[in-house]
Amino acid sequence: MIGAAAVVDGLALLLLAVALFSVTMRGLVSGVWLLVVQSLLLAFVAATIGVSSGAAHMWAAAILTLAVRAFAIPAVLFRVLAAVALKRETRPLLSTRHALIVAVGLALVAYLAAGRLELTGAFPARQALPVSLALIFIGLLLMATRRKAISQLIGLITIENGIFLTGLIATLGLPLFVEIGIFFDLLVAVGVTAVLTLRINEQFDTMNTDELRRLRG
């Protein structure tokens, strides 16, 4: 056993790379594909932990991740993008270069913060916790800087992935029926958001959330 921890660390770093890459991407479709990659990596992480710790429910978690995060959610997103026939993100608030710098900065902050949390009893993968925090911060960055509704949703799902990773590492995932509940919620959330996006597009015939700034005071 070359040590599940090393494998998980590798996967975590891969995840971080994907997240940083998604910050630079403009295309919405490619954004969704990056989500699929993230989900696959997460499923793989869950599987590795399942193997090394022998906890049965980890396998269930891995299968669920595959089913929901890797397949169901991207399917919904692709259908929405197809319906809307819109491919590119308009100019985000931060230019690509600045966004990347901020993203790296956030990753460093994540490493510092994870250091302070010192979850000694957690799964021995040292890299995983900082990466999960980084995912959360980058997800927030995406939501804050992108204008299109779908890209804000992508940011939101990145945050969810980060939290899910923390769960996996810290406590080998929450009790199973809670996990199922969370996955169900995530799916419904994406569904509802998709419906909303379609209605916004139909009402404003654009998905640019700059239109959504009329309710003031």
Binding site: L140, M143, A144, T145, Q152, L212, R213, R216, G217
Partner: protein
Amino acid sequence: MDGPLPGLVLTWQLDGLSLLFGLVVLSISAVTTVYAIGHARHHHGFPGSGLLYLLFIGAMLAVVVAGDGFTFLLAWETMSLASFGLVLTDHRRAGVREAAWSYLVMTHTATAFIVAAFLLLARTSGSLAFADWSARAPAVDPVAASIIFVLGLVGFGTKAGMIPLHVWLPRAHPVAPSHVSALMSGVMIKLGIYGLVRLSFDWLAPGPAWWGALILGLGVTSAVLGVLYALMEHDLKRLLAYHSVENIGIILIGLGASIVARSLGAQAAMTLALVAALFHVVNHATFKALLFMGAGVIDSAVGTRDLERYGGLLRRMPITGLCFLVGSAAISALPPLNGFASEWLTLQSLLALGRASDDPLTALLPLLAGGALALTGALALACFVKAFGISFLALPRSPQATEAREAGRLELAAMATLAFACVALGFGAVPVVSFIGQLVPLAAVPTAGSALGLTTAGAGRLFVPGVALVLLALAVLAAIVPRLLGPVRSHIAETWACGITLQPIHEYTATAFAKPIRLMFRDIVRPVRDVGIVHRAGTRFVASVHYRSHIAPVFERYVYLAVKDRLVAAAHVVRRAQNGSLQLYLAYVFAAMLTALLLAR
């Protein structure tokens, strides 16, 4: 009955002070209700207004007999809400809504101050019952006592209409129907005084001298400024409202003097001053309610509140005229009536306080307050000569005034009873003062009501019935003696007006009557005057002259409106924080999370 919070019981308490104020509330409410029934044919309120009126009276009674903080506040605000509803009866007239709103907001802010004061008291004594407060009064540490005193002063002062906090009074009373403003001005503002008396004599131990001096100072300002603003008004009800401010000033002078005496330990002066203040509370309730009822009758007879449109009403409304005359004489503190008796007592108490304090400064302050009180009395006389003279005497200035008809029987009955009360309280000053002397729970030194007449420690004596009797006898003499020189006849002729027949336009107007005083006190009152002259087209000949003068509403503009505008401006600045951008809202959540984590380190 147990209240809504654990360990909170709605208790009631009836001691001397509550009895006195209860009597005032009951008697004046009874008379105003009779008046209201009579007045109803002019003034149909909204369907529930009769019920609300009874609730208003009931609430005032409840305030006086409340036994603990919570019940007191319940009754206090129910009273405010009921009167707010009544003030809004004819909300279609211009300015009624703003007046009612400013009234309720100021009263509610005052209640907030009272709540704070009560809770501080509850903090030291551990309970809300008044009995515990007075029992543990000495235990309250001086700093907290001073804070409680100031909070209570602001809270009760606003309700009483003390000068810096009086702004709602001249706005709310005139717009309210007269039977409501009679009750509000006659009785409701007295409950502010009731609160102040409870606060400074019952709930707090004798404090430093500056407490009393503060009230004395505010009393003097209220009295002088109140009467000055009243003089400048030509809206009858606003004039009477400002007079309420003035009379509250006089009561506060008495109250302030008694509190100073209490802190100096001069028992005799304290009792005398407090009795003087309470006697003036009773007196003011009678003549102010009478005057407001009179104003209400005239308003419904002539259709406007503007003095400049009145005139010659004594011929058309003789009984109202007589009652209004008695009320005006009483409020101007003219002998044999009750106003003079209470002002005499207040002056004596100021003198007694002056003599009681040893160091010269605190001796001088009450004496100067006495001077201010005399000024107020004289100005009040001027104001009511104007009010009565312009509205009741000489020629009617408007067609409506010419056709004015006398009020209904019930209204007249109500006014007559109060007029009689003014005379009775004046003549019966001795027994009334001794009755109040016993009621006041302090060490009532038997100074105030000896058999023969009002005597004070300083050997000042006043026996009102005696003076009145002599006055009457000499008046009869003055009428009879000249007849000894043979009969004379009197012929009716035109008033001499330099050869032209007298027109109403020649008569003196209210604004003109007050002009000398306005010019004498111009830097206090700051009149604003604009005169527009319209020439006939192309010629130098004057077609018409428009003269408008009003008094700069100093307090309203520089204090209240300034605060309101700044508050609204600040609100506009803060509102920009909700500018609709989701990104900004996310930043707020993120910032909140970071601060929470930092705090959690």
